[in-house]
Symmetry: C2
Subunit: 155 residues, 2 copies
C-alpha cells in the first residue's frame, strides 16, 4: 500500500549513541519507513522531537545526501552558519561531503514533526560530530583519536 | 544554506510528455530542488498541483524508489489498488520495480502541495505508463511497440 499507515509502524527513541551522548536525543521518537515499504535506495524516518529534544548531535555525512521536510511545529536548525528557525513546509538539504555540521533543536513546548530522507552509499558512509569527541562509520562510533566506542549505529 | 529558499527557485510547468499526453500535467508546477543545493544522490521536486491537475500519468519505475511527502491540500492517489485520499502529513512510498502504476489527482478547488523524492540509478531507469501507449527510459519516451516519441524527458 503506497500510502503508509504511519500509526502502524513501530515508534522508538532508541539510539546507538554511547553515553553521555545519548541524552540529547532521548526525546527523539522516530519510525523507520524503509522496512515498512521495502525501499532500498531511499532511507527515510518519520521523526517527532519532543520539547527540548535534538534530532541528533551536529553531524555531516561524507557519502549520503540528506533531505528534511518539515511537517508540524517549530524547530531551530543549527549549523555552521548559525541558527535558523524552520517550520511546516520548509525543506532542508544537506549534500554529502559538505562539512557543515547540522541538527535540529525543538525549543518550543509542542512536538515538532518532520520526515528525514537519506540516499547514497550507506556502506561507505562516514562522518563527523564537530561538537563532541565522536565520528561515525558504517560499523559504529569512535572517538576522534580512532578508539572505538562500545556502541553500534542503530540499524 | 541548508534551508532552501523555495521562492527563489524557478517554478515551471514544463513537461517532456509528447502531445496529447502533456495536457494532463499542464497544472503541475514544480521546482527542482537538486540544482539549488547541489545534491546528486537524491532527486527532489517541490510540486504544486492546481485544481484538476495530475502529478503525472500513472507510471512506475524499475530502478528508482519514489517517496512523496504531502504538505498542503488534498489529492487522490490512484494506483492498482484503487483510489485513496491523501493530505498533509501523509507519506507515500513507491519502491523501484513494483509494477503498480500511480499518480495523484487534485480534484479540489485549491492547490495541493507535496515534495516528491527519487533515488536510485537514474541512468539505468525505465518504466511504464499502464494507461496510455507510452514507456520511458533515460533517453525519453516511446510507444509500447518501441517506436520513439519525438520528446525528451525533462532534465
Amino acid at each position: 500500500m503506497p500510502k503508509l499507515d504511519l500509526a502502524a509502524i513501530p515508534q522508538t527513541n532508541a539510539t546507538g549513541y554511547p553515553a553521555p551522548h545519548d541524552a540529547a536525543v532521548e526525546g527523539r521518537w522516530y519510525r523507520r519507513l524503509a522496512p515498512a515499504c521495502g525501499r532500498t535506495r531511499i532511507g527515510a524516518s518519520h521523526c517527532t522531537l519532543l520539547p527540548g529534544a535534538f534530532s541528533s548531535h551536529r553531524h555531516w555525512h561524507r557519502e549520503e545526501d540528506e533531505l528534511v521536510v518539515m511537517l508540524e511545529g517549530q524547530a531551530i536548525l543549527i549549523d555552521d552558519t548559525g541558527e535558523t528557525p524552520v517550520g511546516p513546509g520548509d525543506v532542508l538539504a544537506f549534500p554529502a561531503g559538505e562539512a557543515n555540521g547540522h541538527h535540529l533543536h525543538n525549543r518550543t513546548d509542542d512536538p515538532c514533526v518532520f520526515v528525514a530522507i537519506r540516499a547514497g552509499d550507506a556502506a561507505a558512509d562516514s562522518g563527523v560530530y564537530p561538537d563532541i569527541d565522536m565520528v561515525f562509520d558504517a560499523a559504529g562510533y569512535a572517538r576522534k583519536d580512532g578508539t572505538r566506542y562500545d556502541a553500534r549505529r542503530t540499524p
